[in-house]
């Protein structure tokens, strides 16, 4: 069964380029110049990067949130050209990751790809067929580097408008050293019926480090974009700082689903934001399973009347992990609505924090927002915090917020065990039910793997 699952969400990608390049460790103006030069970028992008670098240097580290002291900016390689493989061998991969692959039943070739060992993956023909279909509809789906070359005007118009480099230190960093990521443009009225996936065009080694994604959904269009996968991704790079900017124009709808399961040496600090215009819908569906520290607050700025935002997230924090995640919705105009559901699970001294902001501005007459954040703490060593900020500046609105913290009940466990489930199965079932409002929004293959992965995580602790 897993074979089908894997091919459903992994397709082919490009031929590697011919030469090999890697900048020296650490960050400096020279490194940025080199990156831009290697990519043969137009002047305006070079300038964009350099300006962002100045901003990065001038900003301090955030004074709130998880402990980032383990991050050493000088020890990181900020740009590694795709094909230049460092030649990881399968044996280099930590055993807990190898074991997970075994349990998920992922085939050989795939295992190596995910582990960053293999540079290429078959199934190019599937990819090319899909590409033809999109071209007919006028859908643009390329990696961001290519977009700069082939659609410079379009990119230039929108890049940095939703997440400007000044926004925060890591957005500035990304703006300076970004590489890879997706650029998607969906023309007016076009409905893209199969979900577009990051793996359609990704190159393994460069995967996710400083991706810059820009999605423009023109009026009345529909797109579902999926990034990531449930199987653990081993990354030798300890810092992943991506930026995702989305513009949802009038009447359009975009759903952006992510499942992140980075290995537990990774600092995953991401800025994701969408501007939603009149009568549009923006949905962020987020699964956070891995990484050492994640700071991710997908946001929607509701700029058009009648716009709607949905933020659904699951966070799983195990040993040594701190998931500091949540979401932001800002209502600027009338009759906008938002719904935030956050479910987090902590075990094994894992630490979950929900950080959210709901802002309802003075002009946002008739707006509605509901927030629900629930935490399940599985054992006495783990921890959960909730920091919800709600700012209401107009009276004709309604806002409700509910949060609860609980553990799996003894009586629930006994009931399930009396039906033949063992302890792990019983815990897994309760957790499955706990996150169900969100997993039902993922494509089925993801939901199935998500549930299996959670069961595997539980086996690690219990039994």
């Amino acid at each position: 069964m897993s074979n089908e699952i894997s091919t459903n969400y992994r397709y082919g990608f490009r031929d590697p380029e011919d030469y090999v390049f890697k900048t020296k460790k650490g960050l400096s103006k020279e490194v940025i110049e080199e990156i831009s030069w290697m990519k043969m970028e137009p002047e305006w992008m070079r300038v964009f990067r350099l300006k962002a670098y100045e901003i990065f240097i001038s900003k301090p580290m955030p004074s709130w949130g998880p402990n980032l002291s383990g991050l050493d900016f000088d020890e990181i390689y900020y740009y590694i050209k795709p094909v230049e493989k460092e030649g990881h061998s399968w044996e280099d991969i930590p055993s807990y990751i190898r074991n997970t692959f075994e349990k998920l039943g992922i085939p050989e070739a795939e295992k190596k790809y995910l582990a960053g060992v293999s540079a290429q993956y078959e199934s190019e023909s599937v990819y090319h067929n899909l590409k033809k279909q999109w071209e007919k509809q006028g859908v643009i789906f390329v990696d961001t580097d290519t977009a700069i070359r082939e659609y410079p005007d379009l990119v230039r118009e929108y890049i940095g408008t939703v997440v400007p480099p000044q926004d925060n230190k890591f957005a500035a960093l990304n703006s300076a050293v970004w590489s890879g990521g997706s650029f998607i443009y969906v023309p007016k009225g076009v409905y893209v019926d199969i979900p577009l996936q990051a793996y359609f065009r990704i190159n393994a080694q460069n995967a996710g480090q400083f991706e810059r994604t820009l999605i423009i959904a023109d009026e009345g269009s529909y797109l579902h974009y999926i990034e990531g996968c449930t199987a653990p991704i081993y990354s030798s790079s300890s810092l992943h700082s991506a930026v995702v900017e989305i513009i949802v124009k009038k009447g359009a709808r975009v759903r952006y689903s992510t499942v992140q399961n980075w290995s537990n040496n990774v600092y995953n600090l991401v800025t994701k934001r969408a501007f939603a215009y009149e009568d549009s819908i923006m949905e962020w569906v987020d699964g956070n399973l891995g990484s050492k520290v994640s700071m991710k607050y997908p946001s929607v700025y509701l700029y058009g009347k009648g716009a709607r935002a949905e933020l659904l997230s699951i966070a799983f924090a195990g040993k040594g992990q701190h998931q500091d995640v949540g979401g932001k919705v800002l209502h600027f105009v009338p009759y906008t609505s938002s719904n935030i559901v956050s479910k987090s699970i902590s075990k094994d001294s894992g630490h979950n924090s929900y950080r959210g902001l709901v802002y309802i501005g003075p002009e946002a007459e008739g707006s509605r927002c509901s927030v629900r954040c629930d935490t399940l703490i599985l054992d006495e060593y783990s921890r959960s915090d909730t920091y919800p900020y709600m700012k209401v500046r107009n009276r004709n609105v309604s806002l409700s917020h509910e949060a609860s913290v609980s553990k799996i009940g003894e009586e629930q466990l006994f009931y399930l065990r009396s039906r033949g489930l063992d302890e792990i199965e019983a815990n897994a079932m309760v957790i499955r039910g706990f996150i169900e409002p969100i997993t039902k929004e993922f494509p089925m293959e993801y939901a199935v793997e998500l549930n299996r992965l959670i069961k595997i995580q539980l086996e690690g602790t219990i039994g």
Partner: protein, 293 residues
């Protein structure tokens, strides 16, 4: 006021050598002391507002009512003791008032706090309740009604530092005109505080065109063996259907609004145990709702 000992701090240092040192180094202020097993029936009412140190010995009981805008209180509630603390604030001479209240609860003690804020001007209140020992309970109820340019900032922290402790907070506010409210309600549950029961709810009714509220209910939980831990917040306006119904029964806008507002606050007013104080609170609220509609 039989039984309650009320002295200035200076005098207290003389009468009770060694006692004060355990709690405070301050020199200026009032010392309120309730000896062991003494249960004061009559509420102790004051409208002076210096720094006040309240020490309650085991199994004592006291109702303390202060009618002040700014309050500075530290209360140490001994095992089995019960403190009812009410602060009714209606008027403010100063533009900015700041209040600091701390309550420290020992084994099986209870504190019932009630805050009525109808104050003029800009008010900031910092309240901390530390449930230090087993079976301590804290109940906090609050009402605020702001109008004109008034500003109110509340920061309430309830810390569970021992097992089987209970905290229960319900706050209701009405914001008219151009008022601003900020309500930050924090609940922290330490690792040792197993089987804690924590509940917090905050409801805001916005009536004013330009009124605004920031509500921040924070939870920091460090153990999973809890009896209950939930919080909720809602912000809304008057239900149009209810307003229409009232008007269709002949009530004018103003009257309808007043009735609805009192209905909104009713559940908290009901909770006040002392009848005389309940009536007083109701009177103050009605007066506030009367003016300036």
């Amino acid at each position: 006021m039989e039984g309650v000992i009320s002295l200035s701090l200076k005098e207290a240092r003389n009468c009770y050598p060694g006692l004060l040192e355990r709690y405070t180094k301050k020199d200026i202020g009032v010392f309120i002391y309730v000896p062991k097993d003494i249960k004061i029936r009559m509420p102790y009412i004051t409208s002076r507002n210096p720094y006040t140190l309240i020490i309650m010995e085991p199994d004592s009981e006291l109702t303390y009512v202060s009618e002040n805008d700014s309050v500075s209180v530290e209360a140490y509630i001994g095992p089995g003791a019960h403190l009812y603390f009410l602060n009714l604030s209606r008027d403010s001479k100063d533009i900015y008032t700041d209040s600091n209240l701390s309550f420290f609860l020992k084994k099986s003690s209870i504190c019932d706090l009630f805050f009525l804020d109808l104050a003029k001007n800009r008010v900031k209140r910092d309240v901390k309740v530390s449930l230090l020992e087993e079976d301590a309970t804290s109940n906090i109820r609050g009402i605020y009604i702001l109008e004109g340019n008034e500003l109110l900032q509340y920061h309430i922290l309830q810390e569970h530092k021992a097992p089987f402790t209970t905290s229960n907070l319900v706050y209701k506010g009405i914001l008219k005109d151009d008022t601003k409210g900020l309500f930050k309600g924090e609940i922290t549950i330490e690792k040792e505080a197993v089987q804690s029961d924590a509940y917090q709810a905050n409801y805001t009714l916005i009536l004013g065109e330009n009124a605004s509220i920031d509500t921040i209910p924070i939870l920091e939980i460090k153990n999973n063996d809890l009896k209950r831990c939930t919080h909720g917040a809602t912000v809304g306006q008057i239900d149009e259907d209810i307003l229409f119904y009232m008007k269709s029964r002949g009530l004018e806008d103003k009257e309808a609004l007043k009735l609805i507002s009192i209905g909104f606050l009713e559940e908290i007013i009901e909770d006040i145990s002392s009848e005389s104080i309940k009536l007083k609170v109701l009177k103050y609220i009605e007066e506030k709702l009367e003016v300036n509609n």
